[in-house]
């Protein structure tokens, strides 16, 4: 449950920087987790955290208490992450890396379990999960992360990203389909 320490949001809106500091301290870790899951990169996640709070501060006047403050921050963070991963993808596309090459990278992670060493196996599964998440389009990854990890409803995600409920639903469906295609051969070994 979200705790608004002594009306920190209201005080921050009226220009109290100590109140805004409380909000930064309260929400930073959650924003970092979201940003890392969306970007898959620690440095990018740090950039997202910083930019999210700078943008939030700048736009405090626009915050309406209809949604919780954390949902509002998630919206800012996810939109900025989306821009960031789109920019990264654009650079990758421009570099004319073929999807076959990406597929090769995915396939190069071995499927065979190395005997009884569960730790190594676990790492391989994690690598596969990361690779599979990287295969998603920015829109699919954003919608999926917000639904799967952050527990936002499809309607909330559609409103946050400005994509509408139906398009968000289809982004999540496509994400799940891709993840199943990539991961079922691996988790099959775990059964």
């Amino acid at each position: 449950m979200e705790v608004d320490a002594g009306g920190a949001v209201e005080r921050a809106r009226s220009g109290d920087s100590d109140a805004f500091r409380l909000l930064v301290e309260q929400h930073s870790r959650a924003i970092f987790r979201l940003a890392f899951r969306m970007t898959g990169n620690e440095q990018d996640a740090e950039d997202v955290v910083q930019e999210t709070f700078l943008r939030a501060y700048k736009q405090l006047d626009r915050y309406e208490a209809r949604s919780s403050f954390s949902t509002w921050l998630f919206r800012i963070a996810s939109n900025y992450s989306l821009d960031l991963i789109r920019m990264r993808k654009r650079h990758e596309d421009k570099r004319q890396r073929s999807t076959e090459e990406d597929h090769d990278i995915l396939q190069s992670i071995p499927l065979d379990t190395p005997g009884p060493d569960r730790l190594v196996y676990g790492t391989q599964v994690q690598d596969r999960v990361n690779a599979a998440l990287n295969e998603l389009s920015p829109q699919e990854r954003t919608a999926f992360v917000l639904r799967h990890f952050e527990g936002l409803s499809i309607e909330e995600i559609g409103a946050s990203l400005g994509t509408g409920t139906n398009a968000t639903k289809h982004s999540i469906f496509r994400a799940v389909q891709k993840l199943r295609r990539s991961l079922e051969p691996v988790v099959g070994h775990a059964k």
Partner: protein, 246 residues
């Protein structure tokens, strides 16, 4: 009921199905759909194993320290929505006003105050200019080398837009005798020209040349330091008596 689709199972998994009871009843009777749902849950539960680097309890304080100094500048410029649309015109206007103010000196007690106001307005514009320049330089510096061509059309276009502003700021810094700022803007201008005149698609060698130019002058670092100083001056209270250079 027909077999349950994958979409229906996804909505059921996330608790967003409007027909949950009907699907549950079907799953109780249909081994094929139950098996499909098990496979889906296994994959989605596996996704949870993707690790996230830990951040300790002090992380929030560290984030605050990083952003604290930047907040003042951001709030001040918050009313300048879509500023980039009219930034070039504003820049020309500001610099013209600034230079006019320096050479056509009005009489009266408000002279120093007017001068301070002009200089602080100019600081905001220069701060934004350096921030945008830094983005272009950082994008190119961090662009991965490798095989194939890299499309730098966005950076090229931005460099073209930044060039006119940069010339005005450099000339202003020269005319006010601020040689440190003028030298950094001079170096920046040379690199912006190179970027603006590069092809939209650059080879690895061409990219490497651009990166070397940025690195050899320590330009990114200089622009960051200058931008940071400018931002600090923006936040700092206006001096009462002495005029400050950029």
């Amino acid at each position: 009921m027909n077999h349950v689709s994958e979409e229906q199972l996804v909505l059921l998994y996330y608790g967003e199905s409007a027909e949950a009871q009907t699907i549950d009843r079907h799953l109780a009777e249909c081994e094929a759909c139950r098996s499909e749902f098990r496979a889906l849950k296994l994959v989605l539960n596996t996704v949870d194993s993707a690790p996230v680097p830990e951040r300790g309890a002090e992380y929030g304080q560290a984030v605050w320290k990083r952003i604290e100094k930047k907040l003042g500048a951001r709030r001040k410029s918050s009313s300048f929505r879509h500023w980039w649309i009219w930034a070039p015109a504003m820049t020309a206007l500001l610099v013209t006003a600034f230079l006019a103010g320096r050479f056509i000196r009005p009489a009266g007690p408000d002279l120093a105050k007017n001068q301070q106001i002009r200089e602080r307005i100019l600081l905001v514009a220069v701060g934004d200019h350096l921030e945008r320049s830094q983005m272009v330089l950082a994008e190119l510096s961090n662009a991965p080398g490798g095989q194939g061509k890299l499309d730098i059309s966005d950076e090229r276009q931005m460099a073209q837009e930044l060039l006119d502003d940069n010339r005005l700021y450099r000339q202003t810094a020269h005319s006010t005798g601020d040689t440190t700022v003028a030298n950094v803007l001079d170096d920046l201008e040379r690199v912006l020209i190179e970027i603006a005149h590069s092809p939209t698609q650059v080879s690895s060698d061409q990219l490497e040349d651009l990166q070397k130019q940025i690195e050899s002058k320590g330009l990114l670092f200089k622009v960051r330091v200058l931008g940071s100083k400018v931002r600090q001056q923006e936040i700092a209270p206006a001096p009462q008596k002495e005029n400050k250079k950029l």
